[in-house]
């Protein structure tokens, strides 16, 4: 067991948010069809890798499919075919010297057969993270590999997870008469959306109130970081709406014209800042009265979450724009009738 709290580790705390559930549902639907692959896209820090973690955990539990995951890189050192097969086996680049394989492709096929035998399934899912980095020859190899596995009686499935640029790759393939690859792996696509509403935020924050660490103890994440506030009955989930609105206001101030979609990891950062503020200043939070979206604590939490930086907007607005920000917020709320 790690000595570091899961909230302090990237992807350390795992929970299923509504966007994640939607993506899982989409995958499940496609898996049950005869399709051999799908794409899942989403901006960075929206939880794509966490999605693969969740898929892996669910398959491991249900033994419904064998999942082999790997992260694609743009490296094309020779012999790249062998390196690609080794990557599909889940090996890191540096591990090559540890176990020289004579025939990496055969090793991959045998590995798949063995894992499927252990699970008692015929379904094997290759989850390729950062799939926008895939080169055409690699996609061709995936095509041949899936043919091999089909001939062996397996049901291969290639899950291409990547940045939105992956969809550009699909368009490029279509334009360049590589429909064979598109038809095989990219016909179905799903988008991993960000958290976009108080309900989504509440699902995430409720997990923080309920999850315990260390395992087997009675200490929840919230009570770990803000023990006094927890004793007084404060729960972070009560701040879900305020936190969401704080992100909305922040987005409006940054010039976003639409309701923002916030990556899970930004919300995690903001909630960590909120928990620390609640711990540092006991009176900052009140169990009977949620914080207002404009409160310094929530504003500070949102501004420190990295959300703004991810938008790549340039210089930070000056503080004297605060009234303009409030005006813009009120106008947007009126127009969208958002409460």
């Amino acid at each position: 067991m790690s000595d570091v709290h899961p909230l302090l580790v990237a992807r350390g705390s795992r929970t299923t948010t509504p966007p994640l559930e939607e993506a899982l549902s989409a995958l499940n639907t496609v898996l049950q069809s005869a399709e051999l692959g799908m794409t899942l896209t989403g901006p960075t820090r929206f939880g794509k890798s966490a999605f693969i973690d969740e898929v892996e955990a669910r398959f491991a539990k249900s033994k419904g499919a064998v999942l082999l995951r790997s992260t694609m890189t743009t490296g094309n050192e020779s012999p790249w075919e062998n390196r690609f097969f080794r990557r599909l086996l889940g090996e890191e680049e540096g591990e090559e010297s540890l176990l020289p394989r004579q025939r990496p492709k055969q090793a991959l096929l045998r590995h798949v057969e063995n894992e499927c035998d252990k699970f008692g399934t015929k379904v094997v899912v290759f989850a390729l993270d950062e799939a926008q980095n895939l080169a055409i020859p690699q996609l061709d190899i995936l095509k041949v590999l899936s043919e091999n596995l089909l001939n062996m009686g397996h049901k291969p499935f290639v899950l291409l997870v990547g940045q939105p640029e992956l969809l550009r790759l699909r368009s490029w393939l279509r334009e360049n008469l590589r429909q064979d690859i598109v038809q095989r792996f990219m016909l179905r696509s799903a988008v991993l959306r960000g958290l976009s509403g108080a309900a989504d935020f509440r699902a995430l924050l409720r997990h923080t109130d309920a999850a315990v660490w260390p395992e087997g103890s009675s200490r929840t994440y919230t009570s770990h970081f803000a023990p006094n506030a927890w004793k007084r009955g404060w729960r972070i989930a009560q701040e879900a709406e305020g936190l969401w609105l704080a992100f909305v206001y922040h987005g409006l101030a940054l010039g976003l014209s639409d309701k923002p979609e916030v990556g899970t990891q930004f919300v995690s950062q903001a909630q960590l800042a909120l928990l620390r503020a609640a711990d540092a200043l006991d009176s900052a939070v009140d169990p009977r009265r949620p914080l207002s979206p404009g409160s310094p604590i929530l504003r500070g939490a949102v501004e420190g979450s990295g959300f703004r930086e991810s938008l790549n907007l340039g210089a930070k607005p000056a503080d004297n724009n605060a009234s303009a920000e409030a005006k813009a917020t009120r106008r947007w709320l009126r127009e969208t009738r958002y409460k």
Partner: protein, 398 residues
């Protein structure tokens, strides 16, 4: 499976009594890799420490328990009990693969087969093999799984489907008899000799596989004996051997040396065309004449007797060389020459009266070898003296 990641493993591959090599070979087969690459990760065994595949190390047991999800007893049974530094224990462990062809056809190997005293498989009552049936060479356990490390031929027929083949039980319970019957043994160690139990005059057995089968087999036996000496009597001076100026081709020259113990090892083993410090080279040359001429002519003695003689030969030569280099170092010389001479090796095969054909091969007591090593080690510049009692030796020297 973090430590093994991304190696494939299947709990159904384990059967009671299987060796660590057996499991590593299955993993290596799936990974299309060499067994050596797998056992390096599992047991830290490599070309210069092959004995680690076969002998027990607590860290490997813990790793095996964790990685293979084995009970403590099963994890310990993967390897032979370890007794580091003891020639008495080490000399019976074969580095080269020994296998029962029947067991191996079920992709099963028991670590007890590596005990050189055992001649027959207790489950199938067939002779254990220690050389490739195609080329008659000793099989390096770190090579490709179930293949000869020299000629590459398969030692077993490939199963129709490997997935079910690797899981197939060996057809016996894998429980090694607590007391191995004498009928299964090839020899027994006595205080002043080796009792070689009745055996075929198996030279034909070896030459049937290859016309040079006997030579290759003798080389392998010498290699085993020498490796055992490096791992026990000479183990503290292995590092000295690495520092010595000459490793090979010292047969015909004076050897400049710093450590007389390492020099003795180098001089003796180079006479047998063996690597001086066993840095991983698997023996593939032929036995040279000096070693070959001291042995009985082909077809005149049973295999077990020949094996005992080949075990005694390096010891006798080493004891002699240790005295030569030890004495040279004591008078301040930094170079000396040792060559085999008939008086250095006087082992004989005696037929015991009233027995059913067993023969005793005489040997010098192990304490003699330890004492010569200690005598020579006193002059080691690296201060790696051994703790053997020198009093008996001093009496002999007087």
């Amino acid at each position: 499976m973090r430590g093994l990641r991304p190696l494939s493993w299947n709990p159904a591959w384990f059967h009671r009594g299987a060796s660590l090599w057996c499991l590593a070979a299955k993993i290596a087969y799936v990974a299309t890799s060499r067994v050596g690459a797998v056992v390096k990760r599992l047991a830290g065994a490599s070309e210069d420490s092959r004995v680690r595949i076969w002998t027990l190390q607590q860290a490997t047991v813990e790793l095996a328990r964790e990685q293979f999800d084995l009970a403590a007893e099963d994890a310990r049974s993967l390897m032979l009990p370890a007794n580091p530094g003891s020639l008495e224990q080490r000399q019976h462990t074969s580095l080269a693969l020994r296998w029962c062809p029947e067991c191996l056809s079920s992709w099963f190997h028991c670590v007890k087969f590596q005990d050189r005293r055992v001649r027959l498989c207790p489950w199938h009552r067939v002779r254990l093999l220690d050389a490739c049936p195609h080329c008659a060479r000793a099989v390096d356990p770190l090579g490709l799984p179930w293949r000869c490390s020299h000629c590459g031929n398969s030692l077993v027929d490939d199963p129709e489907h490997w997935l079910s083949g690797l899981k197939r039980p060996p057809g016996h319970d894998g429980r090694w008899p607590s007391r191995v019957p004498t009928s299964l043994l090839g020899y027994q160690e006595l205080k002043h000799g080796v009792r070689c139990l009745p055996d075929v005059a198996g030279d034909e057995l070896l030459t049937a596989a290859h016309r040079r089968g006997l030579e290759y087999w003798q080389l392998a036996q010498l290699y085993e004996s020498s490796a055992a000496l490096w791992d026990s009597v000479l183990c503290q001076h292995k590092s000295c051997a690495f520092k010595e100026k000459y490793g090979y081709q010292t047969q015909h020259f004076n050897l400049e040396f710093a450590c007389p113990v390492a020099a003795a090892g180098i001089a003796v083993f180079s006479q047998m065309s063996l690597p001086h410090s066993l840095t991983g080279e698997w023996p593939n040359s032929r036995v040279i004449a000096s070693a070959y001429q001291t042995l009985p002519p082909p077809g005149t003695v049973p295999l077990e007797v020949r094996k005992a003689l080949l075990r005694e030969l390096p010891r006798a030569w080493l004891a002699d060389a240790l005295m030569v280099f030890g004495e040279a170092a004591r008078v301040g010389r930094t170079s000396a020459r040792w060559e085999p001479h008939p008086a250095a090796f006087q082992a004989k095969a005696l037929t015991t009266r009233g027995s059913n054909g067993a023969q005793i091969v005489t040997k010098r007591p192990e304490s003699w070898l330890a004492a010569t090593a200690a005598f020579s080690a006193e002059m080691c510049p690296n201060g790696k003296a051994t703790s053997a009692d020198l009093s008996g030796l001093k009496l002999l020297l007087v």
